[in-house]
């Protein structure tokens, strides 16, 4: 088999959000061609944002994703507020962070239990896994439901929330309404600790890469909804300087633009990046869960992202509980935001990585240009480099086994192709 050309093709990747494929051609250990293909058609959100009011951006962009609408709403709000020189403080800032914790819990629970765990346990789906691991699957369902409950209370509904607006919210909850979430969140926090213990005992392929990790960072907290953009290779910039340091290009096999560092190459976004850059700012139980799971201050094995995601689940629950405990209902549900004819930049940490928005707004408050850079499109290059690096030394594996492991490598990123298209099939071809 070693000198023969082989082709491994997955026409339709399972357990990823949206439509994508993988194609790999190799001869022995040598990768001749590799493509992570995103074929889901582009949706032209940036084009139809033009001419809309600045205040409509959070509601329109929320429609880009049913899993992470809060990320879209938050990055859009951040951009519009930055353009107008408004900054949320106090209870409003806490609520923006709290609803985002709900999204992390919902999205991470979905990925850890339903999309990623079956890979390590040898099941094709969570349904197949459920009969042998009913306790874990039921736990995942309940955690997801609790994340959704946070989003529903603050956002009006769990998918494409309608209560988020530029400057804050249409209505803010009472202290008592938030307190009702506490028992479930306490259960979810403890369940997340148990989850971290469980997933840390899974078997991980021996594979590490020296990534450039990029994430938001904030001096006082594990960054979720705001911060400076930093990396482990010296990047430390304000969000508004994104385009000076990153560039996007189109490749023929993807409907999502590839992004790279202008002075470098691929970079890696998401839980592993956040953890590696900001783990010292995790909440106490999350830190303890990470230590017990054997994670150091950084993590470079993408397959262990399931452990890091579980640690972030602990964190998101603890942080939500902390925010609820200190919550005082703000006197007004939102701050007035007057548009100015400037360009606004906003970023936040979507569950799968940094989501950057840029809008040019005219003096009447109409959007003249919109630019949205989702995490999955930024991770494409890193995904392809992982696949390329994973094959050498493993070409003795059968096509089926190799395909299974490569698909797993892709799923480590929790790719959201629907967001990125602006995609997944897998083909491995061996010569």
């Amino acid at each position: 088999m070693s000198d023969a050309e082989r082709e491994i093709a997955v026409d339709y990747l399972a357990r990823v959000e949206g439509e994508g494929a993988m194609y790999l051609k190799l001869r022995g250990d040598e990768v001749l061609d590799l493509r992570f293909k995103i074929f889901e058609p582009p949706r032209f959100f940036e084009a139809f944002l033009r001419g809309r009011r600045f205040s409509e951006a959070p509601d329109i962009t929320a429609r880009i994703c049913g899993i992470c609408p809060i990320a879209y709403q938050t990055s859009a709000c951040n951009a519009m507020e930055a353009a107008a020189g408004v900054k949320l403080t106090g209870g409003l800032r806490d609520l923006r962070r709290l609803i985002y914790c709900g999204e992390w819990i919902e999205s991470h629970a979905l990925h850890v239990f339903f999309l990623h765990a079956p890979d390590f346990l040898g099941y094709q789906s969570a349904i197949a896994m459920a009969s042998d691991y009913p306790e874990q699957v039921a736990m995942g369902l309940r955690m997801k439901k609790i994340g959704n409950a946070v989003m529903t209370l603050l956002g009006g509904r769990e998918i494409h929330p309608i209560n988020v607006r530029v400057g804050g919210f249409y209505r803010v909850p009472t202290e008592r309404e938030l307190e009702a979430l506490v028992p479930d969140l306490e259960w979810a926090r403890d369940a997340a600790v148990a989850t971290t213990r469980w997933v840390s005992g899974l078997t991980f392929p021996d594979f590490e890469r020296d990534y450039e990790y990029v994430a938001l960072s904030h001096p006082d907290e594990y960054a979720i909804h705001e911060g400076r953009m930093v990396s482990n290779r010296g990047l430390d910039i304000a969000v508004e300087d994104w385009s000076e340091h990153f560039e996007e290009s189109h490749v023929s096999w993807s409907n999502a633009l590839h992004a790279r560092r202008k002075d470098g190459g691929a970079y890696h976004l998401g839980p592993m990046a956040r953890y590696s850059l900001n783990s010292h700012l995790l909440t106490p139980m999350a830190r303890a869960a990470a230590a017990e799971a054997g994670l150091g201050p950084t993590c470079n094995n993408p397959f262990q992202s399931i452990v890091v995601r579980s640690v972030e689940l602990v964190f998101a629950c603890e942080e939500a509980l902390r925010l609820i405990e200190s919550y005082r209902r703000p006197p007004t549900p939102f701050l007035e935001v007057e548009p100015r004819a400037v360009t606004g930049h906003g970023a936040s940490e979507a569950p799968r990585g940094t989501l950057y928005h840029r809008y040019a707004v005219d003096s009447d408050g109409f959007i003249t240009e919109a630019h949205i850079v989702p995490p999955t499109s930024q991770n494409q290059l890193s995904i392809e480099e992982d696949l390329r690096a994973y094959v050498p030394g493993r070409s003795h594996l059968s096509d089926d086994e190799l395909q299974w492991q490569l698909e797993q490598a892709i799923r480590c990123y929790d790719p959201c192709i629907s967001c990125a298209t602006h995609f997944l099939d897998l083909t491995v071809e061996r010569e």
Binding site: E17, E19, S125, I127, A130, P134, L141, I159, S418
Partner: protein
């Protein structure tokens, strides 16, 4: 015996809204409209013994054909109900519930064969007639 009717579909995609339309019209109290099929359905039917789910179907049969399955006794045949790349389909949610021992005592699934799922289109005449037929059957049951 607590009974609920759950409609699944997308009201903005023509005939894909058929299940929602049935849930809207039936007299059964406590009918739910679920925009996308998902695991959350398992929570929706928690505590109900008699559950009817109505979804759009895409099996290649004549538009307006009504498929009926007794999902409490056996899994749905693959590839009949319309699925979404963006969430979990009805068949998946039902099989998940079966694995977890959370199926209602009686679970009947109707699939209405679609004709046109163009964004913004309403129900086609054939599907409209099928909706009437399913509503009559549920109300009469």
């Amino acid at each position: 015996m607590r009974r609920i009717v759950i409609g699944v579909g997308n009201p903005s995609r023509g005939d894909d809204g058929a299940g929602l339309e049935v849930a809207r019209r039936v007299r059964t109290r406590g009918s739910y409209q679920v925009v996308c099929g998902s695991y959350e359905m398992i929570d929706v039917w928690e505590g109900a013994e008699d559950v009817v789910v109505v979804d759009a179907a895409r099996s290649g049969s004549l538009a307006g054909t009504v498929h009926r399955f007794e999902a409490h006794s056996e899994p749905l045949p693959g590839g009949v109900l319309a699925t979404s790349t963006h969430s979990i389909g009805v068949a998946d949610a039902i099989e998940m519930a079966r694995s977890l021992g959370r199926l209602p005592e009686r679970l009947v699934v109707y699939g209405i064969e679609v004709q046109d799922v163009t964004p913004g289109a309403g129900l086609t005449a054939r599907v409209e007639r099928a909706v009437d037929e399913v509503v009559r059957e549920i109300d009469g049951a």
